[in-house]
Amino acid sequence: MTAPAIEIRGLAYAYPDGTSALKGVDLTIENGEAVCLAGPNGAGKSTLLNILAGLVIGKGTTLVEGLTPKANSSLGLVFQHSEDQLFCATVYEDVAFGPRNQGLRDEEIAERVQQALAATGLTGYETRGAHRLSGGEMKRAAIAAVLASAPGILALDEPWAGLDARGAAALTEVVWGFDGTRIVSSHDLYRAAEVCDRLVILDKGVVVADGPMGELLSDGDLLNKHGLEFGLRCRFCQLSR
């Protein structure tokens, strides 16, 4: 029997100043699942992703594909601020950074880079500097950089934040095209519903709801109670119909 992609039991984490971010999270994500982590600001979503990526260590049991998380594991994390993830002189160098650290040969690295750039629609951007990319392109380049390491699990922290409609749609396509397990932390339930089948709501460091996306999205009271919303509500919605 293969281990689930993610297995978390009684996970707790407190910041160095003593503030509790997670207070006993239990969560299992099976291989191939597409899960949205939603919740209000400060719910602990980013902290949970950082623990899964091995960047910080929490108390309790956390297993990623049956192993204790470590920084270069099979989970690829895309940061909310993708400019922090692009630190090389060119897009090619950034995308090749992970495969190079895996000790691959130059031909394999080039192949991985081309595949990752093609998957994110960035073919032809190889020689561009990261600082010259738009917000959407930068986000896709960060995903390409993660995909090039061939992760089994793709985790994205607020992937649609700050993107225009076109950029967000392009990003949705990229996330949708990923074959493995997907974990998306987002407030944007409209976009998340396109790529995730399961919704996990975190609030004040605990899991308050966990179920099929369609079922939980129809519970307006639950969403409102935890600072979320799903459904058109604007002054001009009648006009646009």
């Binding site: 990526a53 091995g54 960047l55 920084a71 270069n72 690829g76 994390l77 940061f79 601020h81 400019e83 922090d84 993830q85 630190f87 090389c88 002189a89 060119t90 160098e93 090749a96 950074f97 992970g98 190079r100 650290n101 895996q102 690295i109 600082h131 950089a145 993660v146 390491s149």
Partner: protein, 242 residues
């Protein structure tokens, strides 16, 4: 052009080596050998013309070092002994001191011009690859490459802070705003530190364990060694006979 072509021409390592040899010849030249300095200047002007580099741009870049080098040597005409030159009957300057001062200015300017030419004609990533091909310790080259990258991040953070301050009426009047400038610098330091930590996290996530991957395995080729070996007698000839 051999100096400029990136694929067919000299390896960046050879260019670094040539620049170092050139600088060594310049700093060992006595200040009175004006013909040698003219030859050095002529060589730089010739290479910059062949590469299509603006000589004026290179001149101004190199001139930026003069205030620092000249200030450091400014005391020499006053403190150095030997034959003195009277200026207007009130100021006595040492002739050997003046020569040394002129030598410092000429040497620093010529070396800075050579470095400018190297920097203008060679992208930074090729320079680091060149240092690898010269078997420079990887830790030093990696630190250099990261410093170069972090300078841009630092500049980004600085611009963001300045924009925020200007949007609230800051005009950069030094004395009046000294306190604010101090706070901005402190804030820049903290933000840069936090950003550097996030970049380091991103590197760790992609398998970085202290050594930058993809070090150039290229060594200097026949053309590179020929250029270096040809430059050595030429520089010795200029140094000894001009």
């Amino acid at each position: 052009m051999i100096w400029e072509e990136r694929e067919q021409g000299l390896d960046a390592g050879a260019k670094i080596l040539l620049t170092m040899l050139f600088a060594l010849a310049v700093v060992s030249t006595p200040p009175a050998s004006l013909a040698a300095f003219a030859a050095y200047g002529g060589t730089l002007a010739w290479i910059s013309a062949l590469c299509g580099v603006s000589f004026r741009g290179m001149f101004f870049k190199a001139a930026a070092v003069l205030p620092f080098s000249c200030v450091a040597a400014l005391w020499l005409p006053f403190a150095k002994g030997g034959e003195s030159i009277e200026i207007g009957g009130i100021l006595a300057l040492s002739r050997p001191g003046l020569w040394i001062f002129a030598g410092v200015a000429m040497k620093s300017f010529t070396c800075a011009a050579a470095l400018s030419l190297l920097m203008i004609t060679t992208p930074f990533e090729r320079l680091t690859a060149g240092l690898y091909s010269l078997r420079c310790p990887a830790i030093i080259v990696d630190m250099l490459a990261m410093t170069h990258r972090f300078l841009y991040l630092l500049a980004d953070e600085g611009r963001a802070l300045l924009r925020a301050a200007r949007s609230r009426g800051y005009r950069g009047r030094w004395l009046k705003d000294a306190l604010l400038i101090g706070r901005l610098i402190g804030s820049l330091f903290m933000r840069s530190l936090e950003r550097a930590e996030r970049v380091a996290d991103a590197m760790r996530l992609r398998g970085f364990e202290g050594e930058m991957p993809g070090h150039s395995k290229r060594s200097l080729g026949v053309l590179d060694w020929c250029a270096v070996l040809a430059a050595i007698p030429a520089l010795i000839a200029v140094r000894l006979w001009l």
